[in-house]
């Protein structure tokens, strides 16, 4: 467990675009997936003999399948607007981490095999043969993109590097060169039901422990139900919420919200994962398998609503793709958004006055909010544009007296990735993760210095794990990252049983249903 040797970037007073350092991150590459992990997902176990041919065929297939991909490949005019927008470029100085350069790793192969000019005059149009060297470059630099889409916000054509990076990863998986972290996790989620590999008895044991803890702390029996048929809501949340800190404090917050609002809910041991790493590797088939587990669980449990917990890319998959991946959801209550985000639930209840909140309980904190990339730029909440920015902030302001935003270039649609998104949250990429966190760390430090911010809230399991890992590199402490629903959990005033009709009602409702 040796510490990787690298220097943590220095935090500057204001963002500085670094001087280029060519190939300085060429050594950064995640562990490759072994045969067993690859084959489980339907990919070859190792690099196949005719990999060039298969890769080019796959690229052709993807061009037909995703019109957007071909448009992105054709439309770049090399204007340079994206060059200083990627957190990995800002943190590493490697020019291949400029979004346009990353795209060009793919585009130059596309031009060589799919455009007339590239076929006839490759050198004139920057077209190149697909060689082993190129494949190695792909493996390294397409695993230095967290698919956060920040560059696409500033691109005048809206070119989305995330999609190109997903396509590249899919091509690599198809020829047998997959990434261990993502593919191991997808395999576990498909067999056990979650990324952790947490089996049902362990899930039940963990949740029973939480019930005890919350009762000890509040005197109120707040339930954490699993597989309860007839519950109104199926909660799909990242399995990190059962396992890690500060995630689990968010889970306690969701439970308290449901409890106080008298909404019967359940988790599913079959679909005990919100995260969908199929998206990170660009694999529609694997993404669909995970989405279908959620559908199955909703049918089996007879729920009326599906609510997603705090998970960034899960919400992208849920909000943008769930209906086409696993729909139609005509068996759910059509009066609610399908699916719904836990923040939408909590926000709605706050607006209706159904939650008793005491924000002074969070008076020991000055809070800021980190917009998670997939929520900010790839989805929405509520029924107004920008709801994904306003709803979480309105919740925080309702439960917390001291709230400050980070500088405007670093929030909302311009938010910086935490540095660990897109399937890069693995220890073998720790140098990249630390360096990629730089722009967020600078923005955070500015509000810590200026306004005395003590904590940063987030609504994504990856963000939370990433920050608790990289904060110490930048002299923050790991517990300064918190779950948004942890703030809700602190502020919510639960009435002990006997004083009101809370609690026992929930159970009878479920049993009756």
């Amino acid at each position: 467990m040796a510490v990787a040797e690298f220097d943590t970037p220095e935090l500057k007073e204001y963002p500085v675009i670094p001087h280029l350092q060519k190939d300085v991150m060429a050594h950064s590459r995640p562990f490759e997936a072994k045969a067993e992990l690859q084959e489980k997902l339907g990919f070859p176990g190792g690099l196949i003999d005719n990999w060039q041919q298969v890769a080019i065929e796959k690229m052709g297939e993807l061009n037909k399948k995703y019109r957007s991909l071909q448009v992105y490949l054709d439309s770049c005019v090399k204007c340079g607007a994206c060059t200083d927008k990627c957190h990995y470029y800002l943190g590493t100085s490697d020019p291949k981490n400029m979004p346009v350069a990353r795209q060009d790793l793919y585009r130059k192969i596309y031009r060589r095999y799919f455009t007339i000019s590239g076929k006839l005059f490759p050198k004139l149009v920057g077209a190149e043969d697909l060689t082993e060297e190129v494949l190695e470059d792909w493996y390294s630099y397409f695993h230095q993109c967290s698919q956060c889409r920040r560059c696409s916000v500033y691109c005048p054509y809206g070119i989305d590097t995330a999609e190109i990076s997903m396509a590249a990863r899919e091509v690599m998986d198809t020829v047998g060169k997959g990434q261990k972290y993502c593919n191991e996790i997808i395999g576990k989620a498909q067999t056990i039901g979650n990324n952790l590999g947490l089996p049902e008895p362990a899930l039940v044991n963990t949740l029973e422990g939480l019930e005890e803890d919350v009762e000890e702390e509040t005197g109120v029996k707040v339930r954490f139900p699993v597989d309860e048929k007839g519950a109104e809501v199926l909660l799909i949340t990242p399995s990190a919420d059962f396992f890690a800190e500060p995630h689990i404090d968010g889970l306690i917050g969701y439970a308290k919200v449901f409890h106080q609002a008298k909404i019967s809910w359940t988790l599913s041991s079959f679909a005990s994962e919100a995260a969908n790493f199929g998206m990170f590797i660009g694999s529609y088939e694997n993404m669909q398998k995970l989405a279908l587990r959620i559908r199955q669980a909703a049918i089996d449990l007879g729920v009326k609503r599906i609510v997603f917990g705090e998970c960034g890319h899960a919400w992208r998959v849920a909000y943008s793709f769930l209906n086409t991946l696993a729909g139609p959801f005509d068996f759910l209550d059509q009066n609610y958004p399908i699916p719904q985000h836990i923040c939408e639930v909590t926000h709605g209840l706050i607006e209706e006055g159904k939650l008793t909140l005491d924000p002074s309980r969070n008076d020991d904190m000055v809070v800021t909010y980190h917009d998670s990339c997939n929520v900010a730029r790839a989805s929405r909440m509520g029924d107004k544009p920008g709801g994904q920015f306003e709803i979480p902030r309105e919740i925080i302001k309702a439960v917390c007296n001291h709230y400050v935003d980070m500088p405007s270039h670093s929030i909302k649609e311009g938010t910086y990735c935490c540095g660990g998104g897109g399937g890069l949250l693995t220890d073998d990429l720790i140098e990249l993760r630390v360096k990629g966190a730089l722009p967020r760390m600078e923005a955070l430090k500015s509000v810590v210095d200026e306004y005395g911010v003590t904590h940063m809230a987030a609504i994504c399991a990856i963000c939370k794990s990433q920050f608790s890992k990289v904060f110490p590199y930048y002299n923050f402490s790991m517990d300064q990252i918190i779950s948004l629903h942890q703030l809700v959990s602190n502020a919510i005033v639960l009435q002990p049983e006997g004083n009101s009709s809370e609690g026992s009602d929930d159970e009878s409702q479920v049993e009756a249903a």
Binding site: M1, I185, A202
Partner: protein
Amino acid sequence: MSLEVSGKSYETDEEGYLAELSQWKPELAEAMASADGAELGEFHWEVINFLREYYEEYQIAPAVRVLTKAIGKKLGKDKGNSKYLYELFPYGPAKQACKYAGLPKPTGCV
């Protein structure tokens, strides 16, 4: 990769996690720790033993909260928190302690 202990070789993954759970013995934990420049004391062993017991029953490492609660019961409330566990295992109780205990590395967004 492999780990050499008293003349025997034990297969591990790229990060040094033991490939075969059943091959584990206390000497391997000692060897892994000394490779990290650490020495295992009584409290480390409490954690390692609890992890192994929990894994035996549930086929997964315990959630951080389950672990801190159990350690708090065994070693006193002042030690039942993740700050203390991070003092014992600076690379994180879930990952470093699991490695010494011969368990697979927890995966996912953790």
